[in-house]
């Protein structure tokens, strides 16, 4: 990535780099929209952005390339990740389409649009190609600075104002003014009594002979799992293990072993075993 490379038409080295990284960028983009979990999307997007940063550099936009890495990949993507952590993965976040025909329309539009863009580019006469040699002669950053502080100074100032506004706006939106005094322990307990539910502390999660975990609901006497026993967040994320099925699977495993010891042939409970495994993997 030297000024020389950027100056004249692209060298073979750049070609190789383009093709390799370009592929990865596309894959990353696809990953962004296809990954089931928001986290994964964020990561693949980050990858794409880094590659874009490389391309900026390759195009002689050194300043931008750096900014891309620092601001985007560094700041913005991190912000995304934070929010993902904050909000969590909700049950709604599945790739199953709910609006009828939406996906097909989307694909159709996307394809059509892409084709049109490509066609447009193809028809545009873009063979003339003077590099940035002259422009970047005095250094890329200096060149940009010269423009920003002369030609684009107003736009620059305004964007500054915009950023401030954005920051303030974000605070206004997210910040919640506490209107009333926080309740004390006592008041809370009194309220519980008044409402007349769960006077005792919430029941513990399931505790079993072979293992216990916070993500397993405790069983009520009649064998049904009790919602109260697991953390609300886990429930919201749908990250609760199904006790009863787990139990069944274990039982099946137990019988299996018993059978093996008794030297009998496998029998129908086998069917439930891989199923049980799959459930485990799934969660």
């Amino acid at each position: 990535m030297s000024a020389l490379a950027a100056a004249n038409a692209a060298s073979t080295g750049e070609a190789v780099q383009f093709w390799v990284l370009g592929t990865i960028a596309v894959v990353g983009a696809l990953g962004t929209i296809l990954m089931k979990k928001a986290v994964h999307s964020a990561l693949s997007l980050a990858a794409t952005m880094i590659i874009l940063a490389v391309f900026y550099l390759a195009n002689g936009a050194y300043f931008l390339g750096v900014v891309q890495i620092i601001v985007y990949t560094g700041a913005i993507m991190m912000l995304f990740l934070f929010v993902v952590m904050l909000v969590g993965v909700t049950a709604a976040d599945s790739l199953k389409e709910t609006i009828k025909g939406q996906r097909w329309l989307a694909l159709a539009c996307g394809l059509g649009f892409g084709i049109l863009l490509v066609a447009g580019l193809g028809r545009a006469s873009l063979d003339t190609f003077e590099g940035l040699g002259t422009a970047n002669a005095g250094g890329n950053v200096e060149g940009l600075a010269a423009l920003i502080f002369t030609t684009y100074v107003f736009a620059f100032e305004i964007t500054g104002a915009l950023l401030i506004t954005a920051a303030v706006g974000a605070m206004v939106l997210t910040h919640r003014e506490r209107t009333e005094r926080a309740l004390t322990q006592r008041e809370l307990s009194e309220r519980r009594v008044r409402e007349g539910k769960h006077l005792p502390p919430l029941p513990a999660p399931g505790v079993y002979a072979r293992h216990n975990a916070v993500d397993i609901a405790g069983l009520l006497p009649d064998g049904t799992p009790s919602e109260l026993t697991v953390n609300r967040t886990l429930r919201a994320r749908g990250q609760i293990r199904d006790v009863s099925r787990q139990a069944l699977a274990d039982l099946a495993a137990l019988e299996q072993r018993a059978q093996e010891r008794l030297g009998r042939g496998p029998s129908e409970p086998q069917a439930s075993r891989p199923q049980g495994r799959k459930e485990e993997n799934a969660q």
């Binding site: 609006i99 539009c109 649009f113």
Partner: protein, 646 residues
């Protein structure tokens, strides 16, 4: 002098206005006022008459121009009167008989609480009828023509609470309207042909247009005459019109209004003279009606309906005569006048009989009344003799002349017409004798008065106690005097008119006259007439005089039954016109609702449905909006590319 003409019309009109708008406070004096004004216009008529006699035959025609009625570019209709001998004859007949019948009605309608209105209507009729005969152009004549139609409508339906009366009135008006169509079309034809419809110019200019046009006009006028004068095929209303009070039947449906057709044809003589085909049609109509009415008259047991049939047939005589052209006009009018006298007399007699018999109209329930109401008997009898044409009485003179004229038409037509008229005379003698015998001779066949609720035809006012036997009595003087006067007329009028053919000479200037020369001598005609009428009387006597008359009508022959039903004309009308019309209107109403309206509503509905479907696109999901937006961009790009492309 001519300024009096307007008064002729104005006097009764004033009466009508006062009586109809006056309100209850006039109830006590109303009838006197009405009679007075009728008499007044008779007096004026008489004055004008003598004035006219005072002048020479040629300058007897008077004109009065009141004001211009409808002045429109190229179309001038005036309210203007023309009084010549023809109109004068009618004026005297109308006002004279009219006045008498006013007097009669004072007694006849005594018990009716709406007597004031009755007299109002009578006056209205008089003025309209006078307007009809005094008009100097066809449009004004049309005015009077419809006016008498209205009066007749109001009077036939005077007892509106009787559905039958209301229906009869409506029927009369509608049938007449069909005739009026003819009249208005005739006027339009005249306007497009001559550019005017004033009698003088039109009748003078007949030579300047084609015969076809004249025939068309003539036929249209004939249609009008058929409607008003109850000639076949528009005769069906006259029988039902007897629902009206008897004085009305006497004045309107016997003496005056129904003869308007004859007036119209005679007045338009010039047109018909120039259009033989039209004349032929007139003659045919007259002949057919003559027999039709006579046959119907033979079968009816309702005394008024029998007389109505007779009226029809007598007017048939007049129309026939008028159709004969110059040889017939005078006699048509003459018969019209005499008929006016004796038929009015007969009706008044019938009214007086009904008056005495608790308004019983079925002759089979009369019988032997001559002892109980002598005056009525005598006057009625004289009228009877007059109508059958008993030698020496009015009817004889006029009818005999018509028969002669019919023969005089010449050729086979002449023979046929002569035969028809003779036959008619015979039948007339037959049914009138029948009426006479059934009413006044034979033994009493009186029945207890019907329950008015069950028999709505009972005329109100006259108090009728259900179940009470009638005790016939002579009518009050106010009713008998007019009858007596009319009887005089029906005895002597004909003779007077025929004295060295005074009447013919009187009318000659208006309806030019030429002597018809019958193939057989006049004497022979007269003789055969007398013979025929004697035969008719004889048969009637054999049937009703010698044998007792059954109270309940026997089933009778097919012809009798048909005749009782007016020879099935009503049934025909009902099936073809009424039923057909009902179906037509119903289907049209349905069509209007489904088709014409449906188209519009259909469009509206479809638009509504479409918008409803579009509304579903607005599902609120940001992403689907995004899709459309994205698609939109794609389209835009495509568009730009294409634009720049080629």
């Amino acid at each position: 002098m001519e300024n009096l003409i307007a008064l002729l019309v104005a006097a009764p009109l004033l009466g009508a206005a006062v009586l109809l708008c006056g309100g209850r406070r006039l109830d006590r004096a109303g009838h006197w006022l009405g009679t007075l004004l009728a008499a007044a216009s008779f007096v004026i008529g008489a004055v004008l008459f003598f004035d006219m006699l005072g002048r020479g035959a040629e300058e007897r025609e008077l004109h009065q121009h009141l004001f211009s009625w409808v002045p429109v570019e190229g179309f001038q209709a005036d309210i203007a009167f023309q009084l010549d001998q023809l109109s004068m004859t009618f004026v005297l007949l109308i006002t004279g008989v009219g006045t008498l019948i006013h007097v009669y009605s004072i007694g006849y309608m005594e018990h009716d609480e709406r007597r004031r209105r009755f007299f109002g209507y009578l006056n209205l009729f008089l003025s309209a009828m006078l307007l009809l005969v005094l008009a100097d152009n066809y449009l004004l004549l049309y005015f009077g023509w419809e006016g008498v139609g209205l009066a007749s409508y109001l009077l036939i339906g005077f007892w509106q609470h009787k559905p039958s009366a209301a229906t009869a009135a409506k029927k009369a008006f509608l049938v007449n309207r069909v005739g009026d169509m003819g009249l208005s079309i005739a006027i339009m034809l005249m306007f497009t042909t001559f550019g005017t419809f004033t009698f003088g110019p039109v009748l003078a200019a007949t030579g300047e247009t084609s015969e076809g046009m004249l025939t068309a006009i003539g036929l249209m006028l004939l249609l009008a005459a058929c409607g008003k004068s109850a000639q076949v095929p528009l005769q069906s209303w006259l029988g039902d019109a007897m629902e009206g009070p008897t004085p009305v039947s006497a004045l309107i449906h016997a003496a005056t209004m129904v003869t308007a057709g004859v007036y119209l044809i005679t007045r338009s003589g010039a047109i018909f003279n120039a259009a033989p085909d039209a004349q032929l049609a007139v003659v045919v109509v007259g002949a057919v009606t003559l027999l039709f009415g006579a046959i119907v008259g033979c079968a009816k047991d309702d005394i008024k309906k029998a007389l109505a049939g007779s009226t029809m047939s007598q007017i048939g005589y007049m129309i026939l005569a008028a159709g004969l052209g110059p040889i017939g006009y005078a006699f048509a009018i003459m018969h019209l006048v005499t008929h006016g006298f004796f038929k009015a007399g007969l009706f008044l007699g019938a009214g007086s009989v009904m008056h005495g018999m608790n308004d019983e109209v079925d002759m089979r329930k009369y019988g032997g009344l001559r002892k109980y109401m002598p005056v009525t008997f005598v006057t009625f009898g004289l009228g009877y003799l007059a109508i059958i044409g008993f030698p020496g009485l009015s009817g004889f003179w006029s009818k005999d002349k018509i028969i002669e004229a019919a023969f005089a038409k010449g050729g086979t037509e002449g023979w046929i017409l002569g035969a028809v008229t003779l036959l008619g005379a015979g039948i007339t003698a037959y049914y009138m004798t029948r009426v006479m015998i059934m009413t006044f001779f034979g033994e009493k066949r009186w029945q207890p008065a019907p329950d008015p609720d069950k028999a709505p035809s009972a005329e109100p006012g006259v108090e009728v106690h259900p179940g009470e036997m009638p005790h016939p009595h002579e009518s009050p003087r106010s009713m008998t005097i007019p009858m007596i006067l009319l009887a005089f007329g029906s005895v002597f009028a004909g003779g007077l008119f025929s004295l060295n053919s005074a009447f013919v000479n009187w009318l000659k200037p208006v309806t030019e006259f030429e002597h018809g020369h019958p193939p057989i001598s006049a004497g022979a005609v007269t003789a055969s007439t007398v013979v025929v009428l004697l035969i008719g009387v004889g048969i009637a006597y054999a049937q009703y005089g010698r044998r007792p008359v059954p109270v309940v009508a026997p089933r009778g022959s097919l012809l009798t039954r048909a005749a009782r039903r007016d020879l099935l004309q009503d049934d025909f009308n009902h099936i073809v016109l009424v039923r057909g019309g009902e179906h037509l209107t119903r289907s049209l109403v349905y069509m209007d609702h489904t088709l014409v309206d449906g188209v519009v509503n259909g469009t509206a509905a479809s638009v509504g449905g479409l918008s409803g479907r579009l509304r579903r696109l607005q599902n609120g999901f940001a992403r689907s909006y995004a899709v459309s937006m994205f698609g939109g961009t794609a389209v835009l790009i495509a568009a730009t590319l294409l634009m720049r492309g080629v």
